[in-house]
């Protein structure tokens, strides 16, 4: 019997090359405000927000099997706590991070409850949560109901500084959150949650801590979406509860993650870029644009549920960022094994 030797690989030549490209792109983006126009800087900040949202939605749906149609609850609360903290005198950008952490803290007990729900129940349950939070936030006199309020702390900054600082905060948050997702996926949690998504019962039977994995992804998504909400508020300045807690966010997140590729690391980033481009081209058409988003999402869910990147990955065997392991068979004679 011939012995087959193999080696377990993480980094392929492709992924090494890609890592270099990524590093270069990140370096350019890091000095963005010095080389881009004000308009481009603003729009890139928006893109960072989209990337965060898509990656967080994917962390839940793509990796832990938690499809939510209420993640706007985190976006809205992130914005709300930013308003409250900056009113209380916390300086603006630390307040973005602090607000996100508060939302993460709230998500701990809330997750305990919501994670009892299954499939579609979880999805709508999250929406109920978003609606409830929306109305409760409206009760706060500072918010003035649906009228909303403004992030007055921004007035303290000269416009250029505000634009650039918001850009950098958005950029750093995006990189950090993506790095956290990447690290989680490479570690035990990653293998575990992917097993949950594939078969929850089987995963539990081989000792995967199903609940722990889901809880981690839930809290991470809460923190990430809240951070995105904070950055979004810093770019739009005015906090209107109806917009921040609106269901349209779910349509966007679902579109980005699904079209890009659920359950892949790269997919949501590609989805966010695509969504960003579509919005700049067709956003002005209003309702027709939203119908287009719906039709695209429906078509992908029915005919290409692995999304663009998922399909590319399986068809071409490309792995840009090494989230998993690849097994390389090493056969000295190059022949086929016989038994």
């Amino acid at each position: 019997m011939a012995t087959t030797s193999y080696r377990v690989e993480r980094w392929t030549r492709q992924s090494r090359l890609f890592a270099v490209i990524i590093a270069l792109v990140l370096m350019v983006l890091a000095i963005g405000p010095f080389i881009f126009s004000a308009d481009i800087t603003d729009r890139l900040t928006t893109l960072f927000v989209y990337v965060i949202l898509a990656a967080m939605w994917n962390a839940m749906a793509g990796y832990a099997g938690l499809v939510s149609i209420g993640n706007q609850v985190f976006i809205g609360l992130g914005g709300y706590f930013l308003i409250r903290l900056s009113d209380a005198g916390v300086s603006l950008y630390p307040a973005v991070v602090l607000a996100a952490l508060i939302v993460g803290l709230i998500a701990l007990p809330v997750g305990e409850l919501m994670l009892r729900l299954r499939g579609g129940e979880f999805a709508i349950g999250m929406w109920v949560l978003a609606e409830l939070s929306h109305f409760l936030v409206n009760l706060d006199p500072v918010i003035q109901g649906e009228t909303g309020t403004s992030l007055t702390a921004l007035n303290a900054y000269p416009p250029v500084a505000a634009r650039n600082d918001t850009y950098w905060v958005g950029f750093v948050l995006m990189v950090v959150l993506l790095a956290v997702v990447f690290a989680l996926l490479r570690g035990r949690v990653g293998a575990g949650v992917q097993a949950i998504r594939d078969d929850e019962v089987a995963a539990a039977s081989v000792g995967v801590k199903v609940h722990a994995g889901k809880r981690i992804m839930f809290v991470l998504a809460a923190i990430g979406c809240a951070a995105a909400g904070g950055v979004w508020l810093a770019t739009t300045i005015s906090f209107q509860p109806g917009t921040f807690f609106g269901i349209q966010w779910t349509a966007y997140m679902l579109f980005m993650a699904l079209v890009g590729g659920l359950g892949t690391f790269e997919g949501p980033i590609i989805g966010a870029i695509l969504f960003f481009i579509m919005e700049s081209w067709f956003g002005a058409t209003g309702v027709a644009y939203l119908i287009g988003l719906g039709v695209t999402a429906l078509a992908f869910s029915l005919f290409l549920p692995r999304g663009i990147w998922g399909s590319v990955e399986t068809r071409l065997g490309i792995r840009l960022l090494p989230v998993g392991f690849s097994l390389r068979l090493v056969n000295p004679d190059g022949g086929r094994d016989r038994d």
Partner: protein, 298 residues
């Protein structure tokens, strides 16, 4: 007395929620799908009925004779275009695809009918405002009573169909094990199509009554989906008469909430939903501890 009136009105409102929820509950019971387009489909039925009434000047109740079969056909078509494919692709896909359908429906209705609020109240004459006065402060609107009776009839009829007819038995068998009904000669996809058509008739009825008792607009589907969902969770997922109980609990909670604050109506409903959820999750253990007899130390 005013408080009692709020409770009575809440019970009546619960009848509407039960009618609104039974299509969602039935579809979940048979196909294990939470149809996120549920509310939007009810609004679609309302617009179709409005179109019929505006065109013919006939009563909406006559319009239902046309709209309900159209809804049944739409359900049939929805099964073969969207649901069937989604069901075979795993548990996540139906959530994604029905949400996609909801986004398409809401925005298409906006495109066609515009942003204005509509109501069929003016089309049903006296029924829109006639009521029976029980006391000086308590009166029961005839329309509300009609909705409540309809809900009971629909739930009861559904129960009879499921228990005593061949179609009902087939639906229950398919709900219980879709892989095994295949082995006794049943095409599960056709059963699902029939179930979707039945659910859509119930959705159509709910949409019609929604249009008669309230105003509606193209984006009104979302809240209706939430109410329907809260109803079936409070009443116990998949239980028929639980749906009526759930609707009544939700309606009463909302009406009591409304007496406390202007926002109280919705907040009280959502909170009731969450309280029931907490009770289900953690109540089991507490209840056991309370029920178990304490052992005497020996």
């Amino acid at each position: 007395m005013n408080f009692l009136n709020q409770i009575i009105q809440g019970v009546l409102l619960g009848g509407f929620y039960a009618l609104l929820a039974c299509g969602l509950s039935f579809m979940f019971g048979v196909m294990r799908i939470i149809n996120l387009a549920h509310g939007s489909l009810a609004i679609l039925a309302a617009f179709l009925l409005m179109g019929f009434c505006n065109y013919t000047n006939l009563s909406p109740f006559i319009g239902l004779l046309l709209v309900l079969p159209v809804m049944a056909l739409l359900g049939w078509a929805l099964q073969f275009t969207v649901l069937d494919r989604s069901l075979r692709a795993g548990p996540l896909i139906p959530v994604l695809s029905t949400f996609g359908v909801a986004v398409i429906l809401d925005n298409s209705m906006f495109e066609v009918y515009g942003a204005n609020s509509q109501s069929l109240g003016p089309n049903i004459g006296n029924l829109a405002y006639n009521s029976w006065n029980l006391t000086n402060t308590i009166s029961i609107a005839q329309l509300d009573a009609l909705v409540f009776v309809t809900a009971v009839v629909v739930l009861g009829g559904l129960q009879i169909i499921l228990r005593y007819t061949a179609l009902g038995r087939t639906i229950r068998a398919t709900a219980s094990d879709p892989a095994v009904v295949d082995l006794i000669g049943v095409n599960a996809r056709m059963v699902y199509a029939a179930a979707a058509a039945m659910a859509m008739v119930m959705i159509g009825l709910a949409g019609a009554f929604l249009a008669m008792r309230n105003s509606f607009d193209p984006y009104a589907g979302g809240p209706q989906l939430i109410f329907a969902f809260e109803t079936i969770v409070i009443g116990g997922l998949g239980s028929l008469w639980g749906t009526l109980v759930g609707g009544i609990v939700l309606g009463v909670a909302q009406n009591i909430g409304a007496t406390i604050s202007p926002h109280g109506f919705l907040i009280a409903g959502h909170l009731t939903f969450l309280v029931v959820l907490v009770a289900r999750t953690f109540g089991g253990r507490i209840a056991w501890r309370a029920l178990l007899p304490k052992r005497a130390a020996s």
